[in-house]
């Protein structure tokens, strides 16, 4: 389901059942749900990638299912899924530009206002393109650093 349809569903639908929220809250809700769906998929893949031997070892050691999950499964899964989670994050930054369609003045919305004031659409949108590219580039740099830091003890094994 396209994000813009989900967004319209929340923005136009919720007031009908008596929930009145502003554009910003709608954006936060819609983006959180969409991002959460992608992130859950990524983390699920991270959990499935864990060697079953590790979980069996934890069970044999007498750890409860909850402790196994919080102390063993989750740290490993989150650590290995840092990079895919980063691409989900970058995708969400790009998706947030769609929020300008529900009158939320984020980066794209503000650019539209600037365009309507200056009548220089090409220049403004090129700058906007570069700003988004820089933003996602910085985020991907940060993700790579985090990935390297979290997985530093496995580096010899990988590379």
């Amino acid at each position: 389901m396209p994000f813009i349809v989900q967004l319209f569903f929340f923005y136009y639908g919720l007031p009908e059942i008596g929930i009145y929220i502003d554009a910003f809250t709608t954006g936060v809700v819609a983006l959180s749900i969409a991002g959460g769906a992608y992130a859950s998929d990524v983390i699920r893949a991270g959990i499935l990638a864990i060697d079953p031997g590790i979980i069996e070892a934890a069970e044999v050691s007498g750890l409860s299912r909850r402790v196994t999950f919080t102390k063993i499964v989750l740290p490993i899964a989150l650590r290995t899924s840092v990079r895919p989670l980063g691409s989900v994050l970058i995708n969400m930054i790009l998706t947030s530009s769609i929020l300008s369609t529900i009158t939320l003045n984020e980066l794209t919305g503000s650019a539209q206002i600037v365009v309507s004031q200056t009548y220089r659409p090409f220049e403004v949108y090129v700058v906007l393109l570069v700003v988004y590219a820089l933003l996602t580039y910085l985020v991907s740099l940060g993700i790579a650093l985090l990935h390297r830091r979290l997985n530093r003890d496995m580096m010899e094994a990988v590379a």
């Binding site: 639908g13 970058i90 769609i98």
Partner: protein, 227 residues
Amino acid sequence: MRFSDFTPFDIWLLLQGLGVSLGLFLSTSLIGLLIGTSWAVCRFYRVPVLTPVITFIAELLKNSPVLVQLFLVFFGLPGLLHIRITPTTAAMITLSANSAAFVYVIAVSAIESIGRDQIEAARVFGLTRWQVLRHVVAPQAMAFAIGPLTALLVNQLQVTSLISVIGVVDLTKIGNILNLRTLKPFIVWTVVGLLYYLCAKLLAWLGARFENRLRAHAAWRGLICSK
């Protein structure tokens, strides 16, 4: 007479919107596939100046929102080049370029997934670079790339919904129109979402079938020319 209720004609409207969405999706995907693949071939041949330029363009297209690209083409280009662009043309240009960037990345990684030793062996046998590409690289790269490509196409189908913002009357725009007329957002957006969902499911199913066929072929081949 108040036009606030759903009429049977609305189904026709929805189907029309779906047709526009799917038509644009199919044509831009096809153009994107062609351009993206030719970019990847450029990289395979290591064309001097073109390759870095292509990589830069692909990075820029990949790392910026489609909505901004759409605005740039639809509002920016006419002012710069003094031409008139219809919303459909702008949508075609943007979506094709955007798919091309992602196809390029997939194609490049598919080509790189094939071991250098195979290419070198084929070259030693006296095959030209084109023959290597045609008979050694392409079949294996296809089997490798079909999975990511399916995921990309499912994503691109959803990206087409953005073109409603610049006034193309696609499925989302129809949903918007129906919503404004009937003021029943829950029903309208559920139906629109369901239609998109069904198309995406169909696409994923087709991709999975196609992948199975290509993979079966690759596995069978792998037995004969084992590494």
